[in-house]
């Protein structure tokens, strides 16, 4: 028995042992996954509905000026707003014209 034959024999043995140690595969699922999927979808919908209801209960001004909404404003928009306010302070006589154009 040469070395190559020995290796092949060992490989076959190893494969045999592995096959015996693993449980046989069942091609069919032992349970139906669809009810669980439906349950997940329903749970997601209920959560969304609750979030929407909570948002609806709040006054729109509270939502508009909430800390989370204000913190989402990028810095350059704050800079633009500041520029407009500074402009109005420098040239207050233009305020009626601004009011006319809004």
């Amino acid at each position: 028995m040469n070395k190559q034959e020995m290796n092949e024999q060992e490989q076959r043995k190893l494969a045999d042992l592995l096959q015996r140690s693993l449980p046989p595969m069942n091609p069919e699922l032992d349970r139906d996954l669809w009810p669980k999927m439906l349950q997940r979808i329903m749970l997601h919908r209920i959560m969304l509905h609750r979030i929407n209801e909570r948002a609806r209960d709040r006054h729109w001004l509270a939502v508009l000026f909430s800390p989370s909404a204000l913190s989402a404003v990028p810095w350059f928009d704050w800079a633009l707003l500041a520029a407009v306010i500074v402009g109005l302070c420098i040239f207050p006589r233009s305020i009626p014209i601004w009011l006319y154009h809004f």
Binding site: W60, V73, L80, A83, S94, P96, I97, L99, Y100, H101
Partner: protein
């Protein structure tokens, strides 16, 4: 919530200038009775009361129509509006007799003289204001009415 989308867009667009109308009227009254600027309120209020809210509504409907097509972000879309509103406002003011032009600039309400250079800067500020209003306020109302 998918019915009457354009009506809702019109309402969302016109909500902001309609609310601002109170501020505009208060500002006009203060300017006239406190600072003695002779603003003809009954004529000057026509533009902010009748034209601006309707144009905002129509512009928001236009934005909704553009949505499935290639379009600008809502802030930039709103910043285009002064290019329509400013000439319309100037024309109406001239027709109603409270805006006149001279060599140095425009004279509003027979008293407030604005040099052309300041007008140009003011127009840029107007673009900024419209950009911010559309990006945050009109967009918010669109969201509230389910058309964001």
């Amino acid at each position: 919530m998918n019915s009457h989308r354009y009506l809702r867009a019109y309402m969302a667009g016109s909500a902001v200038p309609t609310m601002m109308l109170l501020v505009v009227l208060t500002g006009f009254l203060i300017a006239r009775y406190t600072f003695q600027i002779p603003i003809p309120i009954e004529r000057a209020i026509v533009f902010p009361m009748a034209l601006v809210p309707n144009l905002f509504g129509a512009w928001n409907m236009f934005y909704l129509w553009l949505r499935p097509r290639p379009h600008l972000p809502i802030g930039l879309h709103g910043a285009i509006l002064p290019f329509i509103l400013a000439p319309a406002g100037l024309t109406l003011a001239a027709c109603l007799g409270f805006l006149s032009a001279n060599a140095g600039g425009l004279v509003w309400f027979h008293e407030v003289a604005i040099p052309y250079a300041i007008l140009a800067v003011g127009f840029c500020f107007g673009l900024i204001v419209y950009y911010l209003v559309w990006k945050y306020l009109v967009s918010f109302f669109n969201e509230v009415l389910g058309i964001a």
